[in-house]
Symmetry: D2
Subunit: 304 residues, 4 copies
């Protein structure tokens, strides 16, 4: 197929822009392909839809996109990092992240009690309020539960419709967070356990996940970043006779380091995680740009 | 300023999408900032507008965007690589690049006489037609000329309104290509010189460029990729008392290798290439995605 | 200090090479700085030494370097990923990883029952033997334990001196693996729990870790890759009045994506994870090259 | 072949280290492979040896390694960027580059007249002395010459045995610099031409290069970085019936952007630039680390 060069018109819709990129190669062509796969995946009513969320996506401003996807039924199972949930909870109690600069003097920031996440500033004081909130939520915890149950419990206590955890609770979407102790939630759990018993079994929620995988007719995944969410989602199919039918990854990671985050989705085919005939694409570009772009294009009607 | 989370609506325009990203951080925030700077730069009638084009942007499908920018008067001076011009000429004689795959067997491609540029395929036979065309154009060349004059001459002989070289010729936009011999144009010149005299002085067109820099009230640059175009543009201000007032770079290159392609635009301030008070931003993301996105957003009316 | 250009002699030792790089800039200078910091950290008898191991370092051939560091007393606390431990166990039962190629046909590999990790091939059959071994080890498990206790138990049952888990068990080095369920160990635990009770509390081992952090006079960390190990180690200081005194990161990740893996160690100063006066350096280069290089240079006597 | 895990001993030589990496995968394995290919290439007396030098390698401290390779007869043809030559000339007149920091305040540096190249500082005053030197050298220039002749002329006037240009002149090694005007040498030529005639034909030195390519029995290339040197070297074989027999690239660039700098050497096989049976490897890592490492290992005797 000949390369069809993109052309930009005045007041284009996102859908028109992506259509214009569909004849291009490199990242442009991949974005168009990702939109195509994502539309089909979301519209496939028999497809169980996973969403993997790694990277500091909530601090960067991607929180509402994710909670809206949950509300719209576009995510059946969410796998994320502890950090994203910490920042989701912080916002849900009315506290903000702030636009800063990446070329900051970090020692000066330390003196000003400001924590930096690339070009996002976070007042250290937020964590006292976070502690207060989380300890109050923890106060009502049953002693034994799984990570998804713990997160569902937290979600049920949040009062913010834009919260990812709250939306997931409302929609009955399970939230998996394999390395939950690797976050301020973990530190708060350590604190809580000094006074009260709490037993969160690492492996307890895997059964439910794998049962869902066995039941699914088809499955698809949108992976933002890589990390634990990517691997945890992909490996969940390993014990079933199935594999993912749709797979999209948005990442800046690269294959050559050999790590899983940058591994190609083709590599996952050798493992049987992604199916031989699955449609898959990796867009190597900043996910804070490509996630909104792809979702916006997929959420648009056909171009006449 | 608190991070304002992006929200995606149905049938959004590109402008609405970028507005929605403007409260975000990381790449999302930078795209919105780039659009803001680019609009101001393009609308600044006293600003001399440079455009640096590196990377295989023409094979990837970015050709018409560039030629349209030239036609619209959004580029006053174009600096690019020989390769982009070779591929521009190939398309202008009605030959195509083809969408292929990056995971190809290159030895098999060689046997099929197909040249690969990442996921673009190019039939080797195109280069025979390219040779025919270029030698015919060269046949009418004056013996002494500068690189910009050579490229202007080629542009004048092309018959394709989407051609970058043709559009630049029509619009009187000079095209600089410092490493022109580093391309198939260079190989064709070697061939031509076996029979006829040709003398293209390396330094001849610098005077015109620097004169323009001296005359410019203000100047701005949109850099796609890095490479020779980036440095050649930025250094052109070094001999003047001026510096760039607007600077945008779209690249995947990174600062830590120390090379100029990935160098921050702040580094250019230490040299006086970019002004102390200049507005600048680098978007670290695939330029085949961000260039169309930024141009489309800048080409849109204000959101009501 | 003027740049002192590197000079290469015949039959140089690694130490001489690194000394020759010490007057250079970019990555070369950073390697020399990393060696300098690492020597001081290892020789500081009052320093608690963390080691963070992410990325597919065991499949790549870095296993013995890590187990030797454990044996030599150069690691007090190891934090790693489930995948590295899975591959450590696989090798400890006499099974191998194989040198393959990254440009492989993954569907063909699937048909041959070969799993690919970049340019490493792993026969799928290994996982049956892994299952047999792990289920036999699990058979003797107490019902309640922490992740470190689980890993210590596994280490005690391995019979291979080059094993990381075995060496850590022998040396009394605790191994933390926050996302252990995100690995084939997790899938095996799911299987085991279908028949027998097993309760591994996510948060149980944080107390021991934080107690160690409170007790440490000084602390240092060598981070290979980023991921969960990086964050888990750095956050462990957050609840103490202390911070890391030495910090080295070997990674290809980049800051501009905003994720923690690529975040600069300076960013960690704003949080108080790394101290204001701590010595720190990030080497942006492939860790399978820089880890051996830095360890080899640090393990050498002074150049006379 | 099973992965053989690297093991680090005390006081290892570089050669022993690289031998230890030879059983590893990822970057470690590639370094060992690069050493193997490089040794064979250098020892192949019928092989014409190209060296491509891009990136700010001279400011970083790689100058003497290159000039020593020239002196040792390990480079037959050098292709580089104008910037590397500018910095080579600066050092050859006794001026230094300085080790700085990358996280500098560039506006403050500007006020202090210090130019920054990542973590290298360069006093702006050096350029006045550079101008003086170069104009004095230019004063004796013939009116008509090629770029290689111009560079040979400059080399003949330098009085520093560690100079790349001087060493190349002494050894009769031609230096190609396709984008020479894209450097301060270009700006000095512009200045010179205001008063005196100078005509440097862009294409004049291609004939000599291509003649050498036709004559060569075999050919090999070590490419540091990518950029113009990479493409210029590889394309030189295009008009011959030959192709490169050995090819090594040391780069941080990545294939996914589609640009030539990050393109795989396999892609070059589809063009016939690298031969079907050629031995080639790309090491994706910081070249200021891998170039010294590989040269040091290749310059060592066999391990007994």
């Amino acid at each position: 197929m000949p390369i069809r060069h993109a052309a930009i018109g005045r007041d284009m819709t996102v859908r028109q822009l992506v259509d214009s990129l569909s004849g291009c190669a490199f990242g442009a062509g991949r974005v168009a392909e990702a939109v195509d796969i994502y539309r089909d995946m979301v519209n496939d009513t028999e497809c169980m839809k996973f969403f993997g969320l790694a990277g500091a996506m909530v601090p960067a401003g991607m929180r509402q996109i994710v909670s809206d996807l949950v509300k719209n039924g576009d995510i059946d199972i969410l796998v994320t990092t502890g950090a994203n949930l910490v920042h989701d909870i912080i916002e849900s109690i009315g506290l903000h992240h702030y636009k800063g600069v990446d070329a900051a003097d970090d020692i000066e920031l330390k003196h000003c009690a400001i924590n930096r996440i690339y070009d996002v500033f976070l007042p250290e004081g937020h964590f006292s309020k976070f502690e207060e909130k989380l300890q109050s939520i923890f106060g009502e915890l049953p002693e034994h539960l799984s990570i998804t149950e713990l997160l569902s419990h937290i979600g049920s206590k949040l009062d913010d419709d834009n919260s990812i955890l709250k939306s997931a609770y409302d929609a009955g979407v399970p939230v998996y967070c394999p390395a939950i102790q690797d976050s301020i939630i973990g530190l708060q759990a350590w604190l809580y356990k000094q006074a009260k018993p709490l037993n969160v079994d690492v492996f307890a929620d895997m059964r439910g996940l794998i049962d869902l995988c066995f039941e699914a007719k088809r499955s698809g995944v949108l992976i933002v970043g890589g990390g634990v969410p990517k691997n945890f989602i992909l490996q969940s199919m390993l014990v079933t006779p199935k594999s993912f039918d749709y797979a999209i990854q948005l990442t800046m990671d690269r294959p050559e380091t050999g790590g899983l985050s940058g591994a190609t989705l083709d590599e996952a085919r050798s493992w049987g995680k992604v199916g031989e005939n699955a449609r898959s694409v990796t867009v190597y570009s900043d996910a804070t740009i490509t996630l909104p772009l792809i979702v916006a294009a997929a959420k648009s009607g056909e171009v006449g």
